[in-house]
């Protein structure tokens, strides 16, 4: 077993521990933010496990879980938890409805894509994140080393494409950027905003650092995923593990009480409180 096959299993174990920790807080405090965080973390864990599994062998339902929970949905659900901590307005419930319906819609699109998977193109020698999508080559564009190509019809034209599991133009792929933009904005943006507010008011240093760690953890996986899509997939598993550890430490720090008790305005968002 190589290090790249071991790292996703370690990430899965960290995320499982993290998920249970956050869900226990939800059971005690009944704050919906913890529930959304726990759901997002569980999705992250499922995605990591599926990725680890797919580094060993093929299973189409593991791919379903990896794409839907690991690549598409988890950031949005994590970020939605942060939204619930920061925005205490009724419109956030409407956003929840949109998120749930959007997730069901993406799940349905993924189910429709399952019979069309190009399973013969799968290999365990590359991370699944480097081979999930079929990529059309532009005229004159060089074929990447060790890539398999096909000639197919796309939007009425014959194109040469690098083979991938999901065929060209699979609708579910169009939903992923929506979830990821929302997740980045709320999870990372929310953590940066919270850290800035505490820092500006010169209070709660543990929560400043905690939110910096949460933002850095979320960015670690976001950056690693982007690098993978640009052809640098060797950083993905390390990025996932760093992300899981940083967010876990950040969350634990944010939840840790401070030594002195004073009066604080409700206007200060207490991310991961």
């Amino acid at each position: 077993m190589s290090i790249n096959q071991v790292l996703p299993f370690i990430s899965t174990a960290v995320m499982l521990w993290f998920t249970v920790d956050v869900f226990k807080r939800y059971l005690v405090r009944h704050n919906p933010a913890f529930l959304f965080w726990a759901i997002g973390l569980a999705m992250f864990g499922i995605g990591s496990f599926a990725e680890a599994y797919l580094s060993l062998t093929w299973n189409k339902w593991m791919f379903f879980a990896w794409y839907l929970f690991g690549a598409a949905l988890n950031a949005a659900w994590l970020g939605h938890g942060t939204l619930y901590l920061l925005a205490r307005k009724p419109w956030r419930h409407a956003v929840t409805v949109v998120l749930v319906l959007g997730s069901l819609f993406a799940g349905n699109l993924m189910l429709q894509a399952m019979p069309k998977l190009d399973e013969a193109s799968f290999t365990t020698t590359k991370p699944v994140s480097e081979q999930y999508g079929t990529k059309a080559l532009k005229a004159g564009e060089a074929v990447p080393a060790d890539a398999q190509t096909i000639t197919t019809t796309y939007r009425g034209a014959e194109v040469t494409a690098v083979r991938g599991l999901l065929p060209l133009g699979t609708p579910v792929r169009l939903t992923t950027p929506f979830f990821n933009i929302y997740g980045l904005l709320t999870l990372v943006g929310g953590a940066i905003y919270s850290a800035y507010l505490f820092w500006r008011k010169r209070v709660m240093p543990n929560r400043v650092i905690a939110n910096v760690l949460i933002a850095a953890g979320a960015l670690a996986i976001g950056s690693a995923s982007t690098l993978t899509r640009l052809g640098y997939g060797e950083y993905l598993y390390l990025g996932e593990l760093i992300s899981a550890i940083l967010m876990f430490i950040g969350f634990r720090m944010a939840a840790k009480p401070q030594p002195e008790e004073v009066m604080v305005s409700n206007s200060i968002p207490a991310s991961a409180d």
Binding site: P205, A216, P257, P259
Partner: protein
Amino acid sequence: MASQTKTNLKSHIPEKSFLFEKIVPIALISMGVITLGLMIFAAGVLLGIVHF
């Protein structure tokens, strides 16, 4: 918001702390820029400008 204050746990950021005076602001600005970059990248994918 004075009427809506509540008892909470709090401490103060130490004076003249290198971590809080230099590292934290730089980290926050850097992460904000990276976030913006990733969001523009994702929007580029959505609009078909970025292909992968």
